[in-house]
């Protein structure tokens, strides 16, 4: 357990990295547009986690003029953004679905070459 305490910050950061990787994999792999969208949400959350971890465990010698809570503010904005993206993204998926009754990404190849 003291291993955890010794490398507390790294634990959070690496967790974030893993989450980010998961999201990215989802974007690259899944052919279902909705799940691709969710994977992007995952990535954003990973970023949030990174922000928070850093704002709790700042590196030595970092002395921002602002407070250490700018990280939290950033997360706040990111959440808002994520919501906005989700809304627009879902709308687009609906539009696509309208025009071809499918949400399978690999069938969207009217535009190519």
């Amino acid at each position: 357990m003291d291993f955890f305490h010794a490398h507390q910050a790294q634990h959070y950061l690496v967790l974030a990295a893993v989450l980010f990787a998961l999201g990215a994999l989802g974007v690259v792999l899944r052919r279902n547009a909705l799940i691709v969208l969710m994977s992007i949400e995952l990535m954003l959350n990973a970023v949030n986690l990174t922000f928070l971890a850093f704002s709790r465990f700042p590196l030595m010698g970092t002395s921002p003029q602002g407070s250490f809570l700018t990280g939290h503010a950033a997360v706040f904005f990111v959440i808002a953004t994520a919501a906005a993206e989700a809304a627009v993204g879902l709308a687009i998926i609906i539009a696509v679905f309208r025009s071809r009754t499918s949400v399978n990404v690999d069938e969207f190849d009217a535009l190519k070459l």
């Binding site: 974007v27 690259v28 990404v105 969207f108 190849d109 190519k112 070459l113």
Partner: protein
């Protein structure tokens, strides 16, 4: 002495040419003729005026017309100089030219291209006068190429006939080959002396190599213009032109330009004795070569053409052995009798409505007496069975060749011991042989044409030409008799009033003396004797073959030596040889080069190749853009990986 009217001599015919050429189509015939003749007449008069007012001492009139162009240290002037040599030639050109103009009035009258004809003729006279009057190489070159142009135009005068058109082109191109040498000669002299004026060149002390190089290059030009081996091939074909043209250009004047040039540059040539030897040898070879061919031609003009070539060979022997006066003298006399011969043949052809084959002639003496008479005189003059002009000039040349000292110190190999003292003798023998042949074929020609019975188709009624044509014949015949006075040996005329007419005496001091010095006074009688015998032998052989038996006699010879006759009739197949060796290879090489290098390698392989490659790669590469958004995402991920790698790992 500087005068300001010399330029008129070439200018007047030029103006005449301009008038005839530009307005000839609309000008009334008579006016046109008047213009053309007047132009020549006037410059003739000017020539006489100048000739007889040559100042004492320098004996040269000079005019700097205008500075043509001068850059850096190259200054080329349009300068004219009229001295004894060029003066005489001016007289010959304008005089003979005038006669031929007159003759042409009758000859070309029916042709609808008459105005072109006279324009060309005047232009030629102008160019030829520039050639002889020019006081520097470039000015001379202007005339040099100008006459070439005119000969091209006049040979191709009846251009609808492919043959004639081709002949014209051939003449020009072959001449160009010569001119190429001429140009190089100019370059060499300029590069050494920084000038192109005869005055400086003739007084310059050039080292042997430069002099030889320049001389030989210029001589190449001469072989082109004066139809010497190996470039003579254009001249026989040049007979495609109207006969008066052949008389004026391809017999009397233009073809002698080479001889004139060498005489003009005598002081340069004597600095290059080796080259002089070459000149003499080439002359001798040409003389015999052409004479041989001449014996087996049946086209009357062809015979005359080859005789011209061989006579030119004599002239080159003359200048080659260092007796420039002899060469130039033969030039003058030859101008008279050869013009006469050509005009005579022209009259014959005219009288036979264009028939040129001697085998379809014969017995014309009763139809065209004056033509026959003049032709006879000229024939005698050229064959030298009787001492007329040709006899003296030719034998002067041969005698000089026999006694020349020009080659005495020449060695075959540099620094070798074997001196070429025998060269003169050899040349003399060859020349004499050529003289025999000359006599033979000229008489053969005469007999086949005028004696015996008429062999042509009965549809053709031979008739004598009008006075306008016969008059020049008579005058020329007279001249070729009278001209003998200039050839009389010095000691014959010494002290008499004739000595002023002796060409040798007249031009004394003009020429450079060959390195071996001029031959000391030798008695000409032996030479004359041999010459007479040779001439008579030729006459006899012709007489017994063709006079006796007419055409059958000639055929008998053919039957006797068929192979020889065929070879000679086909001019030793020289044209075919060139065609096989040079002409056709060149053209096919050009085509091959175009197809392979230009079309295939540069354009096909490189230019279009690169373009094609780019397009091809692009076409392949775009396949990668297959519209699958996740592939795009994957590529993006790869990109990110690369960036991160670069920053985190590589660094």
């Amino acid at each position: 002495m500087d005068v300001n009217w010399l330029h008129l001599i070439p200018l007047l015919p030029l103006v005449g040419a301009a008038i005839c050429g530009l307005s000839g189509k609309w000008l009334a015939k008579s006016w046109l003729y008047a213009t053309a003749l007047l132009a020549v007449t006037l410059s003739f008069c000017l020539g006489i005026y100048g000739f007889f007012n040559l100042p004492e001492g320098t004996k040269e009139l000079h005019e700097l017309a205008f500075n043509w162009f001068s850059v850096g240290n190259l200054h080329v002037d349009m300068g004219f100089s009229l001295d004894r040599l060029s003066g005489t030639l001016v007289l010959v050109i304008t005089g003979v030219g005038l006669l031929i103009h007159i003759y042409s009035v009758g000859y070309i009258d029916e042709d609808r291209g008459y105005w072109r004809y006279f324009a060309y003729l005047n232009l030629f006279v102008a160019a030829m006068l520039t050639l002889v009057l020019g006081d520097n190489l470039v000015a001379m070159f202007v005339g040099w190429e100008g006459v070439g142009l005119c000969s091209y135009l006049l040979i191709g005068f009846w251009f609808t006939d492919e043959e004639k058109a081709y002949a014209g082109r051939k003449a020009f191109v072959v001449n160009r080959i010569g001119d190429f040498g001429f140009l190089i000669g100019i370059f060499i002299l300029f590069n050494r002396l920084g000038t192109v004026n005869f005055a400086q060149i003739n007084t310059a002390a050039l080292p042997l190599d430069i002099a030889s190089l320049a001389a030989i290059c210029l001589f190449v030009g001469a072989t082109g213009k004066s139809a010497q081996l190996p470039l003579y091939i254009w001249l026989p074909d040049a007979m495609a032109g109207p006969t008066p043209v052949s008389a004026l250009i391809h017999a009397a004047t233009m073809v002698t330009a080479g001889v004139y040039m060498i005489a003009r540059l005598s002081h340069l040539y004597i600095l290059a004795p080796g080259v002089m030897a070459v000149v003499a040898i080439v002359g001798a070879l040409t003389a015999i070569w052409a004479a041989l061919i001449g014996t087996s031609q049946n086209d009357i003009k062809k015979v005359l053409a080859y005789s011209t070539v061989s006579q030119l060979g004599y002239m080159f022997i003359g200048v080659g052995v260092g007796s420039f006066f002899a060469g130039t003298m033969h030039l003058i006399t030859h101008a008279f009798f050869k013009a006469c011969l050509f005009l005579g043949s022209g009259a014959v052809i005219h009288g036979l409505h264009g028939e040129q084959d001697m085998r379809k002639m014969g017995g014309l003496r009763k139809y065209m007496p004056s033509t026959r008479a003049t032709f006879l005189v000229a024939t005698i003059a050229i064959t030298g069975v009787l001492p007329l002009s040709g006899f003296f000039s030719k034998d002067e040349i041969l005698g000089q060749a026999l006694h020349t000292k020009a080659f005495d110190f020449l060695t075959l190999t540099p620094g070798g011991s074997a001196h070429l003292t025998w060269l003169g003798t050899v040349i003399y023998i060859v020349g004499s042989a050529a003289a025999f042949l000359t006599s033979f074929y000229m008489w053969r020609c005469y007999f086949l044409t005028f004696s015996g019975e008429y062999r042509g188709p009965s549809s053709v009624h031979p008739h004598e030409s009008p006075l306008v044509m016969t008059l020049p014949l008579w005058i020329l015949a007279a001249l070729s008799v009278v001209a003998l006075v200039i050839g009389l040996p010095a000691e014959w005329v010494h002290g008499t009033f004739l000595q002023d007419f002796s060409w040798e005496h007249f031009t004394r001091g003009m020429w450079g003396a060959p390195r071996g010095g001029s031959p000391e006074e030798f008695s000409p009688y032996l030479g004359y004797g041999i010459a007479l015998v040779v001439g008579l032998l030729g006459f006899a052989s012709a007489y017994f073959s063709t006079f006796r038996y007419g055409i059958e006699g000639d055929d008998a010879i053919t039957a006797r030596v068929p192979f020889l006759r065929r070879t000679l009739a086909n001019k030793f197949y020289l044209d075919e040889f060139y065609g096989f060796l040079v002409v056709r290879p060149l053209w096919s090489f050009a085509r091959g080069l175009w197809r392979v290098v230009d079309a295939t390698i540069i354009d096909g392989l490189i230019v279009n190749g690169v373009g094609g490659l780019v397009a091809w790669v692009g076409a392949i590469a775009r396949r990668f853009q297959n519209g699958d958004v996740q592939r795009y995402a994957a590529v993006t991920a790869v990109g990110v990986a690369a960036l991160v790698y670069v920053f985190l790992v590589r660094g």
